[in-house]
């Protein structure tokens, strides 16, 4: 019997000890009318070898196309040591560290993770993770509504340059608590949120302003001006950042005069494989003043009975298992294993390694944009500084172009027509440090051919204004 160790003799001994005749007798309290007899739609068991064959086939079936897709999930190098250590049974199969004395490994690691996130973001404190970047933003929004004592409002200013899936997730999670998201338009030339658009809201009551850096288009926002505007208008500033970019970019804790109040984002670039979108982890950091409004697990350093340093879950009075309906969030599980990987990843790379990976991604994307822009009709859409993603306008329908590229084993980018129809035929591209000069050249060559075949510039497609 797979994963069940009992011998027939042991079963008989155990049944005798209990005083019942059969396994079925153990279910005597369940009304007979409810009992199930068949599971026809479930296939019969496979051995490890058989499921190995099946999974091998399926993994191969999807190919391994060359990835120029980013849009919230990035193909970075992960040192071999990261998952070899993370996969140790002592991390992989441990439970939530509620029994602190039996969990010092995980607890110290999480404390180190919190310390690293504080160093990277320039904030005072970090929690021990949430599910992913999008749900972390939703939690950050709810946290801001609770934490902003100057504001009586549940309104949040949300730029359209925030990842569209994040905006949807935030809406889906906060709407039943009557939180209202007010969308801010972006500048059509720069692809950023012009601080001047905020002027129409001056004097109105908002709980927070969300500030993405870099934004969904890869463009750098005027984070200092936006943060200062929020503070001048009684709103908290919530940064949504790519943690790898922080190796190069100004940390949220230093934005504007006072720094952002809360920052969050997707931890995937720190050691999590693409893996179809998860598991990743969301991170959430804040200034000390707001720590009691923070959701999720937090680890603190303390002492044992002998005065020896130890680590434990702390501020648990915020959490559902203690406060129930009055908790800061319903969250229970976090993404502990992904944080284990991220901590080892950050330790291995250090700030020097992260800077090199970030800088190489930035440079590769510039090289990609240059190579692709040489194709007639292809041009970058925004003229402002960007990190490692750029929006390109195509002279042919984006969906068809991307399909053709995929047939040539290239994931050419994300079609923006669904979320940003005003951009016309536009795609979002990314080249991380893993993309080689040859891959970039091959992409350019294939794109030129595909565009030519699809009629290229002659099809006369002009972006809608």
């Amino acid at each position: 019997m797979p994963f069940i160790p009992h011998t027939e003799q042991e079963v008989q001994e155990m049944l005798a000890a209990i005083g019942v005749g059969s396994l079925d007798d153990l279910f005597e309290e369940i009304p007979a009318s409810l009992r199930l007899s068949q599971l026809d739609a479930i296939p019969t068991a496979l051995s490890e070898m058989e499921i190995g064959h099946l999974m091998g086939k399926r993994a191969q079936q999807d190919g391994q196309p060359v990835c120029f897709l980013g849009a919230g999930a990035y193909d970075h190098h992960i040192p071999a040591a990261v998952w070899q250590i993370t996969g140790r049974g002592e991390y992989y199969t441990a439970y939530t560290p509620y029994q602190a004395e039996a969990s010092q490994g995980t607890l110290q690691l999480l404390y180190e993770y919190q310390s690293m996130m504080v160093a990277l973001t320039g904030m005072d404190v970090s929690n021990a993770s949430l599910y992913d970047g999008a749900s972390a933003l939703a939690e950050a929004v709810l946290m801001a509504v609770r934490a902003n004592r100057k504001s009586k409002s549940k309104r949040i200013l949300m730029p359209r340059t925030v990842h569209p899936a994040y905006r949807r997730v935030v809406h889906n999670i906060v709407k039943n608590q009557q939180v209202e998201l007010v969308e801010l338009p972006f500048d059509p030339q720069g692809g950023h949120t012009d601080p001047a658009v905020l002027e129409q809201y001056r004097g109105e009551d908002f709980a927070a302003l969300v500030i993405p850096q870099p934004n969904f288009f890869g463009v750098l926002e005027e984070v200092d001006a936006l943060t200062d505007w929020a503070h001048a208008n009684g709103a908290l500033a919530i940064g949504v950042v790519n943690p790898l970019s922080l190796a190069l970019l100004s940390p949220p804790g230093e934005w504007g005069g006072q720094g952002a109040d809360i920052c969050c984002g997707e931890g995937q670039p720190l050691g999590a494989p693409l893996a179809s979108g998860g598991p990743y982890f969301g991170f959430l950091c804040c200034q000390q003043a707001h720590v009691r409004q923070m959701p999720g697990r937090i680890i603190g350093r303390t002492q044992d009975l002998d005065g020896k340093v130890g680590y434990t879950l702390t501020l648990q009075a915020r959490e559902q298992h203690i406060r129930r309906s009055k908790a800061t969030s319903n969250i229970c599980t976090n993404q502990g294993l992904m944080v284990t990987a991220a901590t080892i990843h950050m330790a291995l790379l250090g700030s020097e390694g992260l800077e090199r990976a970030a800088a190489a991604s930035y440079a590769n994307t510039r090289a990609l944009v240059e190579a692709l822009s040489a194709i007639p009709g292809v041009a970058p859409l925004f003229d402002r500084p960007a990190f490692h993603e750029r929006v390109l306008r195509l002279p042919a329908p984006a969906a068809g172009v991307l399909r053709s590229l995929a047939a040539h084993n290239v994931l050419g980018g994300l079609d923006l027509s669904r979320d940003y129809p005003e951009l016309g035929e536009a795609i979002l591209v990314c080249a991380t440090e893993q993309r080689t000069a040859e891959e970039i050249a091959a992409y350019a060559e294939k794109l030129a051919r595909v565009i030519q075949l699809q009629g290229g510039v002659t099809c006369g497609l002009v972006p809608k204004e």
């Binding site: 069940i4 099946l54 191969q60 039996a102 350093r301 229970c332 090199r356």
Partner: protein
């Protein structure tokens, strides 16, 4: 020692990052970081040794028995990890086109179908990232259903007093008020109390069955009828699904919506606190509201169902498809169990629990519900020991650590004083159970003869009992450079 304390300025692991440092001077200075982040500066071997050593300060399923009630700490098969980590699966970008996703999507589709069958629900969405997010999705669907019918007076979710803390917290996140229902003396929900409070304001009830008291609620059909007649819906918290897998289906019990904890019943790893996965299943009337994305099959092709195809959906709750890697592990586990393996999960986890209860009772431990049949877990109460010996549940729990056993769940559910909630799972053998029982017997003797030994436990772990009050009063949540001095 912290990794930060092993740091030396100027050291790093050069093999781990690009050899050349690319020029970033085109990024205007106003956007750039002025000082490098103060991350540890260590060699590759230092990092490997540090985190390997730290791992040895953990209990884990691979090294210890974890009889944690309501957490289902069963063996996590190695094949699930290695097969879900095949290069083609790890490298798939979440936005990859369907043409390059058919293998992955086939796994998700088949998992949806298997979960549908074993829970008796009409449809399943795999996307919630954890049990609590599954709960949120479930209650949000209940709300969407009532709102679509214009039934807007329903403002209350009923939750038994034995429920997990996530239940009331999830209901509140969906904008509901929570009302607690008391438990009767035999561990079933107090049906009369329930009847007294249901009405036109009832949106639904959230139940775990078997409950966290370790008993199957025999009145479940009457509860379902009562709530349905009042116009409310029934929510099934799948935390204890292991107890009835392949034996009883929540759909048959009358539930309208259910979440499953794949990191419990379907043996995906707990990972030191996550990631989990919390798929939801629904009855016919809630199908339009299921969270996206889901996978459907058209002919021989798998297609995504997103906001576009499901306009009434409560939407997505994470940016992509939830914890996809966890879903793959659960899929692989389910295929290895197969149809014949699923009921065995319920049977042998129940066998193990009842065996342990019987033997512990023989040693003088008091069952919370001695007149009931235990399910896959059970409660003993140490009220008597706490009163007579001055040794409480936490002391027992900590002393168990010295014997090499992870403690059971302590002080939960809240309504049983000085309780231990014990769940052995089906993957533990008789000798391990006997070892735990013997340890409990010895601790009871110690508590009688040398209570100080138990009250001061643990004695053999990397640290003794920690000062939680100090941790909360003098918050130290991150290492600072100044700590080095």
């Amino acid at each position: 020692m912290l990794i930060f304390e092993q740091s030396k300025a100027g050291r790093y692991a050069p093999a781990q990052s690009p050899l050349d440092k690319a020029d970033i001077s085109a990024i205007p200075a106003q956007f750039r970081r002025r000082r490098s982040a103060a991350l540890p500066e260590v060699s590759e071997m230092q990092a490997v040794r540090h985190y390997t050593r730290l791992s040895r300060k953990n209990f884990s399923i691979d090294t210890q028995f974890y009889p944690l009630g309501s957490c289902t700490m069963k063996y996590n098969p190695r094949a699930c990890n290695s097969l879900a980590s095949l290069p083609g699966l790890l490298s798939r970008h979440p936005e990859a086109p369907e043409s390059h996703s058919q293998g992955f999507m086939a796994c998700l589709y088949e998992l949806q179908e298997m979960l549908r069958e074993v829970t008796g629900m009409r449809a399943v969405s795999l996307s919630p990232a954890a049990g609590a997010q599954g709960e949120f999705a479930g209650v949000a669907m209940i709300r969407a259903y009532h709102e679509a019918r214009g039934d807007s007076a329903r403002c209350e979710i009923l939750v038994p007093d034995a429920a997990h803390g996530t239940n009331p917290a999830s209901a509140v996140m969906c904008g509901y008020q929570v009302r607690e229902i008391p438990t009767g003396p035999d561990g079933d929900v107090d049906l009369e109390a329930l009847k007294a409070v249901v009405g036109p304001h009832t949106a639904g009830i959230m139940l775990t069955n078997p409950s966290t008291l370790g008993v199957f609620d025999r009145n479940i059909e009457a509860i379902a009828k009562t709530v349905h007649q009042a116009g409310g819906l029934l929510y099934y918290d799948g935390a204890n699904l292991n107890a009835i897998l392949g034996k009883v289906r929540p759909g048959t019990m009358g539930f309208d919506v259910i979440h499953m904890n794949l990191h419990k019943t379907f043996s995906t790893p707990h990972g030191g606190g996550g990631p989990g996965a919390g798929p939801v299943g629904v009855s016919e009337r809630l199908v339009p509201y299921l969270p996206v994305p889901m996978v459907t099959r058209e002919g021989d092709e798998y297609r995504w169902l997103t906001e576009r195809e499901c306009p009434e959906s409560i939407g997505r709750l994470t940016a992509f498809a939830g914890n996809a890697g966890v879903l793959l592990r659960a899929y692989i586990y389910a295929r290895m169990l197969g149809r014949e393996g699923m009921p065995r999960v319920a049977e042998f986890s129940t066998l193990n629990a009842n065996y342990m209860l019987k033997r512990l009772q023989a040693l003088g431990f008091q069952a919370a519900y001695p007149q009931r049949r235990a399910t896959h877990e059970f409660i003993i109460t140490l009220k008597k020991q706490a009163k007579e010996l001055g040794v409480n549940t936490m002391d027992f729990a900590k002393r168990l650590l010295d014997y090499g056993f992870h403690a059971p769940t302590t002080y939960f559910p809240l309504l049983v004083p000085e309780c231990l909630l014990i769940e052995p799972t089906e993957t533990e053998d008789m000798a391990t159970l006997d070892g735990f029982i013997d340890a409990m017997g010895r601790i009871l003797e110690e508590a009688t003869q040398e209570p100080g030994l138990v009250k001061g436990a643990p004695h053999t772990l990397p640290v003794k009992r920690l000062d939680d009050v100090k941790a909360a009063r003098e918050l130290d949540l991150a290492w600072q450079q100044r700590d080095a001095g």
